[in-house]
């Protein structure tokens, strides 16, 4: 039994980490699906999301509104709104003027944006770690005890629930709503969609906003779970989420979700079998293997030449 508990525990650990990767990965994959560009500033958008959540928590506590629901809703709302605004402005400032130019140019612009955002936060918030208290301390324990059983913290439960709701909401939005249909049309053929009267610039801005809002959700969840943020967290989170997006098949939304979960679980078991220092090695080896045998990723479709 202890062995079973142990592996079950690792599976849950992996799924928790994986669902946050998936949330960030969606931002990469949606943007790629529509304009075929990798938004390398997305990791920094996530980082800004955690700072906004941190500021909102401090602000609300300072105003004396420190009941749990208000803090949670406040942090999520503030972070999603402000981060979405960032997502929108980044697209407006750094990418829209370059639309139609060589593919490499917006890529460089994205890297510049990423450096810019990181330094803005570095200068305004300084480089020290900021600590965020855990608002949901406590565990659910399955099995005999915390030492011999599966412990799932309330925070992990919250991560599962929020991620599921967000993913489900996004899927509904994309498959059912008018704007969602426009998004799919743009992903299929942006020129044709434009000719048919869809405001493609608006749709592109919308994908940036959705990506940023989901990154903000991930940011709030992760910063509450781990409790430490600094201006450098965007880089690693961005790389991991990008890996998840490629793993699942870049451009595909279910692919990003699946890719995130697979990556998280692979990391947890990689760390379990080979030791914690080989966690990233396992994750990136998996990426190489998938790309060797299935270059389009798990759920990706081979790109059809557009006529």
């Amino acid at each position: 039994m202890p062995e079973l508990y142990h592996y079950l525990q690792q599976l849950i650990n992996g799924l928790t980490v994986g669902s946050t990767y998936a949330l960030i990965a969606i931002g990469y994959t949606m943007v790629y699906g529509i304009i075929g560009m990798i938004n390398f500033a997305h990791g920094e958008v996530y980082m800004i999301g955690s700072y906004i959540a941190f500021i909102a928590l401090i602000g609300l506590t300072a105003m004396g509104l420190d009941s749990l629901p208000i803090l949670m809703i406040g942090a999520f709302a503030a972070s999603m709104i402000v981060t979405s605004a960032y997502g929108y402005s980044i697209e407006r400032v750094a990418y829209r003027p370059l639309r139609g130019s060589n593919r490499l140019i917006p890529l460089i612009s994205a890297i510049g944006m990423s450096i810019f955002l990181q330094n803005v936060v570095l200068l305004t918030q300084d480089s020290k770690d900021k600590a965020i208290p855990n608002l949901f301390p406590g565990n659910l324990v399955f099995g005999e005890s915390t030492m011999n059983g599966v412990t799932v913290s309330y925070m992990q439960v919250l991560i599962f629930i929020v991620t599921f709701v967000a993913m489900y909401g996004l899927t509904l939005f994309i498959s059912r709503s008018r704007l969602g249909r426009a998004c799919r049309a743009c992903a299929e053929d942006i020129k044709m969609a434009n000719l048919l009267g869809i405001n493609t610039n608006g749709i592109i801005a919308l994908t940036f906003v959705i990506g940023a809002a989901l990154a903000a959700i991930a940011a709030v969840l992760i910063s509450m779970q781990y409790g430490v943020i600094n201006p450098h967290i965007g880089f690693l989170a961005g790389i991991k989420a990008f890996t998840a997006a490629v793993l699942g098949g870049i451009g595909s939304i279910p692919g990003a979700m699946l890719g995130g979960l697979v990556l998280g679980v692979a990391e947890a078991f990689g760390a379990d079998i080979f030791g914690d220092q080989y966690k990233d090695v396992v994750a990136f080896s998996l990426l190489v293997l998938v790309l060797l045998f299935r270059p389009t990723g798990i759920l990706g479709r081979p790109e059809v030449e557009k006529v």
């Binding site: 855990n134 030492m147 781990y226 409790g227």
Partner: protein
């Protein structure tokens, strides 16, 4: 008449002050203060900077060194070995002959190669890796103890006072963390304590849930961590959340009030080896007041060693009678220096002859008491 006299006095003063400023401008002794101004461990850099800058200020106030004033210039290496090399080259190009720094052992090591080659005298107030002074260099000194000293202190304390049955030793794979962790492991095994896990984590990582699951499975009852506070803080917090209630211990790289901000109650009772708290020493109270007057915190482990480093350079120059770094190095090796960290004497390698680490018990409000 009176007016004339006043004017002549004024002219005299002007002439004097311009002469003085001329001689200052011509000949200030620059000291490069190299360490992380930015980055994850910038607060340790701050400790080093405020200590060194306080020493420079006080020495200048007391008339400088052989009539010349000292001038401290900060260089940012962000605790990144690549940037440290760039900083070292910049220091060479700027024509600076004395360096107080770097902070992280992994930065000090490559930078010190350059200093030794270029005839620059370096004193680190914070890097504790033994490798730095074990290469037979002439111009590399330090005013702090070594991992090879700190490791055994920690190991002996664990074996003699804690007496655990099953220890895990974790490190961050960096020169400093892994070096200390290795020394602790060797000491423990030498004393017959079982070390069931010895492995690294990735610095900058946030999630240690799978490591904690394995620590639980191994049934460890004591954990030593070699590294810095951001990772240990998270490890403490997550262990507590997952119900792994064991004691942790770390080197001075974790002894920072930030760890209590990150880990909260989980940091209560952690052991940490630190240099003696120089700010508690009664004979340093005047200096402590001077720091407090500038709203600076003198309690960090590197503040006083950095102060001592600057003082040793200044007295070395005075004793050598020149700023020639070879002569100053010679003076450092052949004299003893009375500093706020005690009477310092350097051995052939450039290390202090006697430096003691003390084991403290950490509390969740960021304070510490000496462990019994």
């Amino acid at each position: 008449m009176k007016n004339k006299q006043r004017l002549s006095k004024l002219f005299l003063a002007m002439a004097l002050s311009s002469a003085a400023s001329y001689s200052l401008a011509a000949d200030p002794i620059k000291i490069a203060l190299a360490g992380p101004v930015t980055g994850a461990v910038a607060q340790y850099g701050d400790m080093q900077f405020i200590g060194a800058e306080m020493a420079i200020e006080q020495i200048n106030k007391a008339g400088g060194v052989n009539g010349a004033q000292l001038q401290g210039v900060r260089y940012d290496d962000a605790c990144d070995p690549k940037q440290a090399v760039a900083v070292a080259n910049k220091i060479v190009n700027d024509g600076v002959s004395f360096v107080v720094g770097h902070l992280c052992s992994s930065s000090t090591q490559p930078a010190s190669d350059i200093y030794e080659d270029e005839g620059i005298l370096m004193i680190t107030a914070a890097s504790t890796s033994p490798d730095i002074t074990s290469r037979g260099y002439e111009l590399i000194f330090r005013t702090i103890g070594l991992d090879s000293l700190q490791g055994p202190t920690a190991g002996n304390f664990i074996a003699d006072h804690v007496k655990p049955k099953n220890v895990a030793v974790i490190h961050d794979k960096q020169q400093y963390g892994e070096g200390i962790a290795t020394a602790v492991k060797q000491t423990l095994e030498g004393k017959g304590v079982k070390v069931s896990m010895f492995e690294g984590i990735n610095a900058g990582d946030k999630d240690f849930s799978s490591l904690i699951a394995r620590l639980k499975r191994e049934g460890v009852d004591f954990i030593y961590y070699g590294g810095y506070h951001p990772e240990l803080g998270l490890l403490l917090r997550q262990s507590k959340e997952k119900g792994l209630n064991v004691r942790f211990m770390g080197p001075e790289g974790v002894g920072n009030s930030e760890i209590s901000a990150i880990a909260g109650p989980a940091s209560e009772g952690m052991y940490v080896t630190l240099p003696k708290s120089f700010d508690q020493d009664p004979k340093n109270q005047q200096l402590v007041e001077a720091f407090k007057a500038k709203k600076q915190d003198p309690s960090g482990p590197f503040v006083f060693p950095a102060y001592a480093a600057v003082q040793v350079i200044a007295e070395g120059i005075e004793k050598a009678g020149s700023t020639d770094t070879d002569k100053v190095a010679e003076a450092l090796r052949s004299n003893s220096f009375d500093t706020p960290t005690g009477t310092l004497e350097f051995d052939e390698k450039g290390d202090l002859k006697n430096f003691n680490f003390v084991v403290y018990e950490w509390h969740q409000d960021g304070t510490k008491t000496e462990a019994k």
